[in-house]
């Protein structure tokens, strides 16, 4: 593979009059983990939803293997290997755990993941596969949402706010799976409000501030002051607590 797997080039997205994403560019190589961090309203979810095909860019493009995929609807992008785990999990509420995974597998690409493999990844699932998803805890639902995306065998997995509304111990458990997923050759694009989680899991970090890129780098070369400044904007960082997390 010569070029990057997924590339976002000078992407600008509007919600009506509001410019949610303003001239953002980055790329992800095969097997890489990129974390996009930023405060509430920085445009992170819009960015992921645009890559997945749920929003249309005003200008700029999304490229997969160097091919512009701007015009493709979400289902065609899934077929090309771009799967989004949406914010708020968005499981099919009238269905059982297993049926949710079966929906994900219906249009699956060939690859290492199937429902059996997901059951190995989350060993609590087989015994509860006939349960309605609304009977599951938030963390369990998040696991099902990840499983539903994985069975489609994506080449790049987009994870939107995995940690939202979950207890720290549950978040840790879910992030512990990331190496297993990467080991199968899947690239991951994580969007997080929770900076510490995003940064510790990622190979590279891309920070958004009000729709613009405010910082990029590897976790090793970034100091927490730099991250604070990029996250909250200039001048604010000195008044903010050390962790820099919004929650």
């Amino acid at each position: 593979m010569s070029g990057p797997l997924l590339q976002v080039d000078a992407l600008t997205v509007h919600h009506g009059q509001l410019c949610a994403i303003d001239d953002v560019s980055f790329s992800i190589d095969e097997g890489e983990i990129l974390a996009v961090i930023g405060a509430n309203g920085a445009g992170k979810s819009t960015l992921l939803r645009t890559i997945a095909g749920l929003h249309h860019p005003t200008s700029g493009s999304v490229l997969l293997d160097g091919q512009v995929i701007n015009a493709l609807p979400p289902n065609r992008r899934v077929a090309l290997g771009v799967s989004l785990v949406p914010e708020g999990r968005r499981l099919f509420s009238s269905m059982t755990l297993e049926e949710n995974l079966q929906v994900g597998a219906y249009h699956a690409n060939p690859g290492p993941f199937d429902i059996k493999r997901v059951y190995e990844l989350f060993d609590w699932m087989p015994s509860r596969r006939k349960q309605s998803v609304w009977q599951l805890s938030g963390g369990e639902q998040q696991a099902v949402a990840i499983g539903r995306a994985l069975v489609a065998n994506p080449r790049v997995l987009l994870l939107d706010e995995l940690s939202l509304g979950l207890a720290p111990i549950v978040i840790e458990k879910i992030y512990a799976l990331v190496p297993d997923i990467i080991a199968q050759g899947v690239s991951i694009l994580i969007v997080e409000q929770d900076v510490s989680q995003g940064v510790s899991a990622a190979d590279r970090v891309h920070c958004l501030l009000e729709g613009r890129t405010s910082m990029t780098g590897t976790p090793a070369e970034l100091t927490s002051e730099e991250i604070d400044r990029a996250y909250f904007g200039a001048g604010l960082s000195s008044t903010m607590p050390e962790s820099g997390a919004a929650s």
Partner: protein, 290 residues
């Protein structure tokens, strides 16, 4: 014995109501489209059975073998063109478009076939019935329609719960965006759902023509009953549709027993009672309405 007869006759009519309403329920459940032309589609199917089937040298009784598949095809095409275009604008447009469709269909039928009543001619079968007790007559036609309704709902239930495509239809009904993210082409799924809805309404229209007379304007009143069935049974529940149809049928028979002019009134009262006491319907999920 009189009460038993009311229940039996009500259940027989209810089978037809359920067959008629399940397409409406499916269109609303999956596409979130209220098809105001639903009743007129049934009438068109009736006319197709009466006027087109004989040209194919097909007995009118068996006309559904041709009309139902054709309607399924038409349903897919109408969905992918006309209805999808209006969904893409906004939900209110779908009401206007299907209402317009209803007006166009009624007037076209009046123009072409006049306002004369028609029936689907099934020969001597129409008069035959099973006579288990002194005052109880069970018409073979009505029994056949009830059986068809149960079979259709059973098949639909199996299809939606067991098959992959059926599961995708439920996924789109649950959360269209999440279904797209799972690889579903929701427009195609909408088309499939509309095809099923049109096929069932064609069957219902032919059944109606076998049981009684119909005219170009017969669609409206049946659409009203179908709405009542869906609300009584609960939106999105297939068995609810059957129970709702039978409940409406029994209520109407009960009203007719008291005074013939109370037939429709009794059905409306049941409908209002359910709406007041259990707005999600007998088998509906509480959050299905929101």
């Amino acid at each position: 014995m009189i009460w038993l007869n009311i229940v039996i006759q009500g259940a027989l009519v209810g089978g037809f109501y359920a067959l008629f309403a399940c397409g409406l329920s499916l269109m609303f459940g999956v596409l979130k489209v209220i098809n105001l032309a639903h009743g007129d589609m049934a009438v068109v199917a009736g006319y197709a059975a009466v006027f087109l089937a004989p040209r194919l040298h097909l007995p009118e009784l068996w006309s559904f073998l041709v009309v139902v598949p054709v309607f399924a095809l038409v349903g897919y095409v109408v969905q992918r063109t006309l209805i999808q275009k209006s969904i893409d604008r906004d939900p209110f447009t779908t009401l206007l478009v299907t209402f317009g469709l209803s007006v166009v269909i009624e007037n076209l039928l009046l123009e072409v076939y006049s306002a004369n009543g028609q029936t689907v001619n099934i020969g001597s079968l129409i008069g035959r019935s099973w006579h288990p007790a002194s005052i109880i007559y069970v018409s073979y036609v009505s029994l056949g329609v009830l059986a068809a309704a149960v079979l259709v709902l059973l098949a639909l239930q199996l299809f939606l719960s067991k098959s992959g495509l059926g599961r995708m239809i439920r996924a789109v009904a649950d959360d269209q965006e999440a279904a797209q993210l799972s690889g579903a082409n929701y427009r195609h799924i909408f088309g499939i759902a509309a095809a099923i809805a049109f096929a069932t309404v064609a069957l219902a229209g032919i059944a109606y023509g076998m049981m009684t007379q119909f005219a170009p304007t017969s669609g409206g009143v049946n659409l009203l009953f179908a709405f009542e069935v869906v609300v009584i049974g609960g939106i999105g529940s297939l068995w609810g549709t059957l129970v709702g149809g039978i409940a409406l049928g029994i209520a109407q028979q009960f009203g007719a027993h008291i005074n013939l002019s109370y037939q429709i009134l009794a059905g409306n009262i049941l409908f209002l009672l359910v709406l007041a006491v259990r707005p999600q319907g007998l088998f509906g999920r509480k959050n299905a309405v929101s």
